[in-house]
Symmetry: C2
Subunit: 562 residues, 2 copies
């Protein structure tokens, strides 16, 4: 290493060169061996910060060195946490109930300042009790994993600390959003990547923005006059778009249907949840087009105006892809806005092997696509893509006062502040853009293909294994693998009612034990008349075949006595 | 330094101690002198990354050292940028037009991956063309400055990479949000800090959430049945809540009325912008209560239902505080939801000297308060506080499926996923919480008081100075100081129309020159019949009296020939 550096330094003295190398050695030394916590007395580490307060940091006069030192300490804490997160021998979570966690640290806010040393202690405590979302065995959510380039980009975004509304205050980020959205539209298949779009604070908001656009497109007067000026509007979506969340699996079987983003949007927009019509799904969770058309005709007969169909590309629980081509035909025939909620499944467009599952998406009017899910971009990163140009602006801008606009050389497509309900927007673009540069499209493709391969491996492993039952037949289309594990004590029960009652309690108990041991985390939920089942999803690029094997062994180890 | 460390190390060998000290010396060495860019050949710095790709980083096998090295390089780039940002001799911005900026770097996304060295180059380029929001002479927005503890907290938030919806996936952050919102409600003056709240993606969304709650409170059936089931609703707000934004000041006088968050909310919610009634403001920009009451009575006479009054605590341009006590009386009398939009001015509640400006806020039903503005918390950090408990949940949750809920020991107040339209939420709490710990309430108070002191200094300095005219009389209530600078060539013009026409062009040209030189940035806009004037705001804790002096000198230097 030192030799290599010397080769490059040429004429520069050895001291300088040695210094540089030394820095890297020390870094490895301190953070890898976690010496700063284990061997070196805490007092040394804190020496610089124990007597310092925030007032000693920049912009304080001569605050440079103290600031660098403080930030470097925080970085060292984070680097140690990162390395630990990827280490399979560490716990995914060190779980405690709220009241217990409240007592394990002082989290209160007071009038008086704390020393920087106390601040570092708070940083350590926060990470100690955090869930390690980067852990290769963390499968609990649709967003898992921690990408190192994405993380670096997010740190840099925080450092730039600006807002997305104009080119003036965020020149580079506005430009990168423009470049990236265009690329995403090309991938969808819109000619020359034309159209519009925006990064929004999550899939639910992206879906609501789409609904807002669809309504405005059909009845622009609604903006000024409200819903009372238009006939009764109805929207359609699959009955399968429920999102279930568990609140603390340690609570045994407490499940909760969290939201229904299309219904939430309809409630907010003054359309009303009763005007969202749920279309039947087949046994794989895909919307049945004939039922969609039947319900559209039915609504029209009642005098209602169908204005919005939200097809789902990748449902939360089953990972089902609605048949977009057939839905596009129906939307075209009845002149209805077609939206594709690809929050979870949209990223499959990056894969030449799997993108056929979204065939027809190019015919949609809008699409939600969350790179923070299947592309493992750090949270939050959700895009709404819109086919028609200019619509977002006219839908969301207020009476613009152009009185003073005399010079139009400036390309307004770079000013995004008026395209959405928000005025300022958080900078969510840089992490996606930088990751795309680091991986290339083929890198994202490989990452996605690998996750799907892992889920196929899991499916093949358990589909005929004793003690397992699949929730639906056939190979999953996304990485969602839904299954029951039946412990021996449940497996052979003959009373079907009793069997279901017992089975319903199995997944929650196993999950609770997973969290107690901290070995892995996977989600479970009931759906319709189906009792609690595991929903495995794989979006974590750190996961391997061995981790899948481990999960199955762990489920059996923790559940065999139930 | 070495001696001090030795004092603390006690028995530990001198090599170890030396190592520790050495690390800090190198840090200062590399980053302060910017040796890595200036003296050391770039080749060395890049040596480790030139042949590496993202696939060499974690979770790659043996990726630890390479990951640490890569992240440390990014940190070094950021640390150098931070030190530079606070240095008054550096430019606030290195401005280029979009087309020019597009050509200055390769920003395109391709199929193939880039090396980690290329990624570092992109990081440097991104910061090179970014606006230095931390710069002591950056006054352009309501959100300025860069707090070192807030930044550290945001880095840590990115590292934890989780979502806010349940305690299970974000135990610490959910707890800290709970603690902080309670503290904020106590400061508002709600008994025992009771009530509810959430951090949302910005002030416009917080205001919309408040409007949604007000409507639901009065007509809960709107959730299912939509706006057609309720009478015509009307909302009221001050005519002064316009937000003006300039798109590139280099474009001379192009101004733009960006948004009107209450109107935007009304458009989205299906209420319609025509149902937002603008109440007259006095010459200081404060809502006139008698006009409010008159318009409420008028609306009732027309058969409309007044449901929402949004009073503003700190308008964007004038920094005006509406008379909350008088407005509260009117809202009480007519049984209307009172919302206080304190996005900009809410933080004055932290100051014993200035909080009287919000007297009456404790009688509001809800309040928007953006710590990312006057408290200089990194973007984004906006809170909606709500007086009534439980309302957010019932307004926004969809038909909850409690079928399986058998165990209620778990405190549901820690599960926030169903309180808002969003399902997942970005973690915005940690930076505010950690800054609060570092500063204490008194630290925030001192920071806010200082900004107000600076603006009073500016006001006193220019109010009688030759060539200046104030846009409104009297000491500003917030840090907004609105003024015209009249260059000698305009100052003595007798033709009033010509004078206004010329004056209208002064601020844009001065601003354009500021950006060309990169010396400072301050915003300007027209308002009503008033031609372009400067709106100085101070939320940047790095600003000093000397920076105010500099601003005035700079305006005169750049504008004297106009």
């Amino acid at each position: 290493c030192q030799a290599a550096a010397q080769k490059f330094t040429g004429g520069i003295g050895s001291k300088l060169c040695g210094t540089f190398i030394f820095k890297h050695e020390i870094l490895s030394f301190v953070s890898f061996s976690r010496l700063n916590e284990a061997i070196l007395p805490h007092a040394i580490i804190c020496y610089f910060n124990a007597l310092l307060f925030f007032t000693d940091l920049l912009p304080a006069l001569n605050g440079d060195a103290k600031t660098m030192n403080f930030l470097q300490e925080v970085v060292d804490i984070m680097l140690a946490y990162i390395v630990e997160s990827f280490d399979r021998s560490t716990k995914v979570i060190d779980f405690h109930y709220p009241n217990e966690l409240l007592q394990r640290n002082n989290w209160e806010l007071s009038d008086e300042p704390e020393t920087l040393d106390d601040i570092l202690i708070s940083c350590r405590a926060t990470l100690k009790y955090a869930i390690k979302t980067a852990h290769p065995r963390y499968f609990n959510q649709l967003s898992t994993g921690l990408d190192m380039v994405g993380l670096a980009a997010d740190w840099l975004t925080s450092t730039a600390n600006t807002n997305m509304f104009t080119y003036e205050v965020a020149p580079v980020f506005v430009l990168l959003e423009y470049v990236t959205l265009k690329k995403m539209r090309e991938i969808i298949g819109w000619q020359d990547g034309r159209g519009d779009g925006i990064f929004s604070p999550g899939g639910a908001i992206s879906n609501m923005y789409a609904m807002l656009l669809a309504r405005y497109k059909m009845f622009p007067e609604v903006k000024e006059k409200g819903m009372s000026s238009v006939p009764r509007l109805v929207a359609f979506t699959s009955e399968h778009i429920y999102v279930y969340m568990q609140f603390s699996a340690l609570m045994t079987d407490y499940a909760f249907q969290s939201h229904f983003s299309i219904k939430k949007g309809a409630a907010a927009l003054g359309i009303g949840t009763e005007s969202v019509i749920c279309i039947k799904a087949d046994e794989r969770g895909k919307m049945i087009p004939s039922d969609l058309e039947r319900r559209i005709i039915e609504a029209k007969q009642k005098g209602y105006v169908p204005f919005f169909v939200s097809a789902t590309a990748g449902t939360t629980v089953y990972g089902a892809f609605d048949p977009l081509m057939a839905i596009a035909d129906i939307c075209k025939k009845h002149d209805i806005w077609m939206h594709v909620d690809g929050a979870w499944g949209g990223s499959l467009l990056m894969s030449r092997k799997h993108r056929w599952k979204l065939n027809g998406v190019e015919r949609a009017n809008s699409m939600t696509w969350n790179p923070h899910k299947m592309m493992a971009v750090p949270l939050q990163c959700s895009a709404l893509l819109v086919r028609e140009e200019g619509l977002m602006q006219s839908c969301n801008q207020m009476q613009a006062c152009y009185l003073f606009q005399q010079d139009k050389q400036y390309d307004l497509s770079y000013d995004t502040g008026d395209k959405a309900l928000q005025c300022g927007r958080h900078v969510d673009i840089f992490k996606l853009w930088l990751m795309w540069r680091a991986k290339g499209t083929i890198g994202f493709e490989a990452q996605i293909d690998k996750c799907l391969e892992l889920s196929e491996y899991l499916y093949n492993k358990i589909k005929d294994r004793e003690g397992y039952e699949m929730v639906f037949d056939g190979k999953p289309q996304h990485t969602n693998v839904c299954f029951w594990y039946l412990p021996p004590g449940v497996r052979y029960l003959e009373d079907k009612v009793e069997k279901m009652k017992r089975l319903h309690k199995v997944a929650p108990v196993i999950k609770a034990r997973m969290m107690e041991y901290g070995t892995t985390m996977v989600s479970y939920q009931p759906q319709g008349d189906k009792v609690n089942f595991f929903r495995m999803v794989i979006s974590n690029p750190a996961a391997t075949f061995e981790d899948i094997d481990f999960l199955i062994e762990e489920i059996e180890r923790l559940g065999q006595d139930l």
